[in-house]
């Protein structure tokens, strides 16, 4: 469960996002909204990447502001357009992430095999296509044992086969490890690919739960 308490994000004087109180229950959650509605900002706030007013609590226990290290152990994040130092290889990045997130290198390697980028495992990411970097970032988001995985537009720049693989990975991790997902996407998932337990809407600088008729 993710709890938001009096969240406010400003850039200069403009309020980008304001959430007084919101609870997101565990499950696979879709966050939708127009461009610039604050979806990525919200994900970055949850991931602890950008400063903001207020607090976020995960698992009823860990506050981002008060128990940051314990909180961050519960949250993984994959960016929309990931950027990694070009001289690092996927192998080095995986070891780097596994070391920080206490994850298994072998499991992440298997993920890369599923996503068909294992051939490039020992090559520097500077020669990867944008789709391959995207797949790598998704694999890195699965490292360790997070309670929540935040995926920002996981389907863009990925091919159809990879979309199916990613959706299966999400369902599998959710079923086996009870890991929850917060996913933003402009693309529509069909029910067979992925079904969501909850849908959120970013609109008017705030986040609300979508009603069934809107969903």
């Amino acid at each position: 469960m993710l709890q938001f308490n009096l969240i406010k994000k400003k850039y200069f004087d403009a309020t980008i996002l304001s959430v007084d109180a919101l609870t997101i229950n565990n499950g696979i959650v879709l966050l939708q909204g127009e461009n610039g509605s604050g979806k990525t900002t919200l994900l970055k706030m949850i991931a602890g990447l950008i400063p903001f007013e207020g607090d976020i609590i995960v698992k009823n226990n860990f506050s981002l502001k008060k128990q940051r290290t314990a909180y961050l152990r519960c949250i993984n994040y994959a960016e929309t357009e990931p950027l990694y130092p070009g001289f690092l290889t996927a192998q080095e990045l995986i070891k780097f992430f596994c070391n920080a997130k206490k994850g298994s290198v072998a499991e992440t390697e298997t993920l890369l095999q599923h996503l068909h980028i294992y051939d490039m495992y020992k090559k520097p990411v500077s020669i990867y296509s944008s789709g391959m970097i995207k797949k790598l970032s998704i694999a890195l988001a699965f490292v360790g044992e997070p309670k929540w995985i935040l995926l920002d537009e996981p389907l863009i720049t990925t091919d159809k086969n990879a979309i199916d693989v990613i959706c299966n990975l999400i369902k599998e991790r959710n079923a086996k490890a009870a890991t929850s997902f917060l996913i933003t996407s402009h693309q529509n998932f069909n029910g067979a690919q992925l079904s969501f337990t909850n849908k959120l809407l970013a609109h008017d600088h705030t986040i609300t739960t979508m009603h069934e008729d809107n969903a």
Partner: protein, 364 residues
């Protein structure tokens, strides 16, 4: 024509000086900030260069190194996505394009040209016409050959200009500590080599020329901190790299104290050449117990510079002012011989900044 020159000036030349402001400030400080009669000192140096071929060769080698830095900067800059519009220069013909890029090369080579003219004047006074010829030919070659490389880069006929001085075959484990250093080694090699060259040269010159009449750590400490400050441009690059490529480490479950310790270890590694070279000054300039003070003072200074960059979106201009202010303050504080208290206080201030701003600043 004026518009094109103006655009090239703004996009390539001005940016070059902005990016390298730290290096130029350091050079200015070393060349004109010493407590001697600066004019006479430079005349004496120019006289020596005009009379000694080996010294002239060293000077030309330094200028060549600077030119490599210019080539590295311009070729990388031209290839940036936001500078793709410069490829339209190809439409005006190779000769004109060459002319424009000669202007760029001249503008970024001005510091060398100015000093070369000064040495030429001194050499003429000494009737050292061969030296005049050697310098003039060297400068002309640098000014005329280098723009050809730029033109070919613009035409995409040169795949990549990279200088593999020491091909990095050593496998280094990639951690939060080493990744920024590997980046500097891979992508900012010229900056690193030039910073280290001047830093080590300054230290070596001090050790070789200064003769203390009694034991006092302060002169060496002052020189060592000056040497450390020549790494300030690298500190700025490391911070920019973190902002651009390592934002996800903010999502790693690592405590603030451990992150701070990692910063300390990283800058200790960066200063390893200086910390090793200073042993040449042992035991005349420092005692074993004072070595700890040297390590702590230099490392804490770089950590402090790094943490000042956390306080907001500080550009290179503002950073140089901060570096200069800190250097001046330290200069006067060291004169009062604060001992080990100084680096401890610097580290505490740095941790204060780190604690207050690490998670609270927008990374842009």
């Amino acid at each position: 024509m004026k518009t094109t020159l103006s655009i090239l000036q703004k996009v390539l030349v001005n940016h070059f000086y902005k990016v390298n402001a730290g290096l130029f400030m350091f050079l200015f400080f070393v060349l004109f900030g010493l407590p001697y009669n600066v004019g006479e000192l430079h005349k004496a140096v120019a006289n020596l260069i005009a009379q000694n071929q080996l010294l002239l060769l060293i000077v030309l080698a330094v200028w060549f190194l600077y030119n490599l830095k210019c080539i590295d900067y311009i070729t990388k800059e031209i290839k940036l996505p936001q500078q793709q519009f410069l490829t339209c220069l190809q439409n005006i013909g190779t000769k004109k394009c060459f002319g424009y890029l000669c202007f760029v090369q001249f503008m970024i080579f001005i510091p060398v040209i100015a000093y070369a003219v000064f040495i030429i004047i001194i050499a003429l006074k000494n009737n050292a016409y061969i030296v005049v010829g050697e310098i003039a030919v060297f400068i002309l070659i640098m000014l005329l050959i280098t723009p050809i490389i730029y033109v070919r880069t613009l035409q995409n006929r040169l795949r990549e200009i990279s200088f593999h001085f020491f091909t990095s075959t050593v496998r280094i484990s990639k951690t939060i500590i080493t990744i920024p250093l590997v980046y500097i080694w891979n992508s900012r090699k010229q900056m690193l080599l030039i910073a280290k060259f001047f830093s080590l040269l300054l230290l070596l010159l001090f050790i070789r020329t200064y003769e203390p009449d009694h034991y006092d750590i302060r002169p060496l400490l002052l020189c060592f901190l000056l040497s450390t400050i020549s790494n300030c441009a690298i500190v700025f690059e490391i911070k920019s790299f973190e902002n651009n490529y390592l934002q996800l480490i903010y999502n790693f479950p690592i405590s603030l104290f451990r992150r701070f310790m990692q910063l300390i270890i990283m800058y200790a590694l960066l200063l390893l050449p200086e910390l090793l070279l200073v042993w040449k000054a042992y035991p005349l300039f420092f005692h074993l117990t004072d070595y700890i003070q040297l390590i702590l003072a230099s490392v804490s200074l770089l950590v402090l510079l790094h943490t000042t960059l956390l306080t907001g979106n500080i550009n290179m201009d503002a950073f140089i002012k901060i570096v200069f202010a800190i250097a001046m303050a330290l200069f006067f504080i060291i004169l009062y011989d604060p001992g080990i208290i100084l680096p401890v206080v610097i580290l505490l201030i740095a941790f204060g900044f780190f604690h207050a701003y690490y998670h609270e600043t927008e990374k842009t």
